[in-house]
């Protein structure tokens, strides 16, 4: 590719090169301005950001469907390979669980009696929205996901995101028809937690790796591998007791927590409104939206009889 340039062409090329140089300088300056604006948390940056994500969500939604199919295929193959080992493991687990089932049913009855005797006010049933994961943003700096539900579906900033019973993160940004989740493994994620057995409080901090670590451990840190980590009520962000994972190692750098649910397993997530502040400063606490009752609520009488003079018409 040898260019046959005359003098005029060369001059033109040099002018273009000059323009290019200036374009690059301008763009560099623009990039730094944008970074500063992001750092300053200017409102319109976030608004334009969610607008762009909103625009891309239909495309991502469409593209992610075949990706899911492929993933399912590979999962089937992996399952087939591990069939024998899995079967043996399940048999052993089943035996253990049968034993636990008898204990659990006895405890449930006992618990019900005790609750009645103590007149315990039951926790309200949370409202939830189920959304599909359409984007998994793989990067060392950010662990986020985009789901195909947004403000029009009732998603609010700061709400808890669960997979099954397990907490996986919170809603960080909300567009009209999309929302961005910040996962617990994100380098910016900080969450008050406790060790289920000993009630030791700590802060679960992500650092971009698969396993977040426990920091700021309060009191007597007697943490062992296998301890279960659940949310604590500190900060009134989420209700206490939501499972997160187990302590996997106490090597250097502090106890590392293996999440119960891994990022690649997430296909549908539940965005749950507990009516609490969520993981937000109190100043930003959103107005509680109209609660949407889940279809399969019905865990006991939800305190209807205890309201004195409740207007029933």
């Amino acid at each position: 590719m040898r260019s046959r340039s005359s003098g005029a062409l060369r001059r033109l090329a040099s002018i273009r090169l000059m323009m290019h140089r200036h374009a690059f300088l301008l763009l560099g300056a623009a990039a730094f301005v944008l970074m500063l604006l992001t750092k300053a948390n200017v409102g319109f940056i976030e608004q334009s950001r969610v607008a762009v994500v909103d625009a891309f969500v239909p495309v991502l939604d469409l593209l992610s469907r075949p990706a899911t199919l492929v993933a399912e295929g590979t999962r089937h193959i992996r399952e087939l390979v591990a069939l024998r080992a899995e079967n043996a493991r399940l048999k052993a687990e089943n035996q253990r669980l049968l034993h636990w089932e008898t204990i659990a049913s006895r405890l449930r009855d006992e618990n019900q009696v005790l609750l009645q005797q103590l007149n315990v006010v039951p926790d309200p049933d949370p409202a939830y929205i189920t959304a599909r994961v359409v984007g998994d943003m793989g990067s060392a700096y950010v662990h986020s996901m985009v789901v195909n539900a947004g403000a029009r579906d009732g998603v609010r900033k700061g709400q808890a995101v669960l997979s099954g019973e397990t907490l996986i993160g919170h809603v960080a940004e909300v567009g009209d028809r999309s929302a961005r989740l910040q996962l617990l493994t994100d380098p910016n994620s900080r969450l008050p937690v406790m060790i289920e057995g000993s009630r030791t409080r700590a802060i679960l901090a992500g650092d971009g790796r698969e396993r977040p670590r426990l920091g700021y451990i309060a009191g007597n840190p007697n943490i062992q591998v296998g301890d279960r980590v659940v949310t604590s009520a500190s900060g009134a962000a989420f209700p206490p007791g939501l499972p997160i994972g187990v302590v996997a190692s106490i090597a250097e750098g502090g106890p590392w927590v293996e999440p119960d649910v891994h990022r690649h397993e997430l296909e549908y997530v539940a965005i749950v409104d507990y009516g609490l502040g969520g993981i937000l400063p109190f100043a930003d606490k959103p107005q509680a939206p109209v609660r949407r009752r889940p279809a399969a609520a019905g865990v006991g009488p939800a305190g209807t009889g205890a309201v004195p003079g409740g207007g029933d018409n």
Partner: protein
């Protein structure tokens, strides 16, 4: 119309590769170490058809990347614009004689891009990130370079041979 469509192919391809890296892949361990496909695409087109992927376009693609991934705006934009600029101005260096040499040249450039991104993020964020993840993503990008270059060369021959 046909010419116009052919001419936006490099841009469309880069954007498509960007969206591809944003899809949930459901493969254990892959999320977080996705190869930097847009980087390769910007590099390739900056070398072979800089007229169709100018520095402004590279900037726009980087900005879209920042927005979709949820990173501070401007980081990937500056990285991709720099890659485009470096590739177009130092064309002679990157168009090496053997494939191995051009692979090495790309490895240098990608290392510079990763380093620049890391530097910008360190300036922005207060929390350090796992260097291992970044190294893995970098190696994945290098590993995919021959295949990706092949694909883009095919696309160039098919769509842009004489336009």
């Amino acid at each position: 119309m046909d010419l116009w469509l052919r001419h936006i192919m490099p841009f469309g391809m880069t954007l498509g590769l960007l969206l591809l890296t944003c899809l949930p892949v459901h493969i254990p361990g892959l999320s977080g170490v996705m190869p930097m496909l847009p980087l390769m695409s910007v590099y390739y087109w900056a070398l072979f058809r800089p007229d169709l992927l100018p520095v402004g376009t590279a900037f726009a693609i980087g900005l879209t990347n920042d927005i979709l991934v949820g990173m501070p705006l401007g980081v990937n934009a500056l990285v991709l614009a720099s890659v485009q600029r470096l590739a177009t101005t130092q064309r002679r260096f990157f168009l090496a004689r053997s494939f191995l040499a051009s692979w090495l040249a790309f490895a240098l450039l990608a290392a510079g891009a990763v380093g620049l991104g890391w530097l910008l993020m360190e300036m922005m964020a207060e929390h350090p990130v796992g260097l291992l993840q970044m190294a893995l993503a970098y190696l994945a990008t290098l590993g995919l370079f021959p295949a990706a270059t092949q694909m883009m060369a095919r696309a160039q021959m098919a769509f842009l041979k004489d336009v």
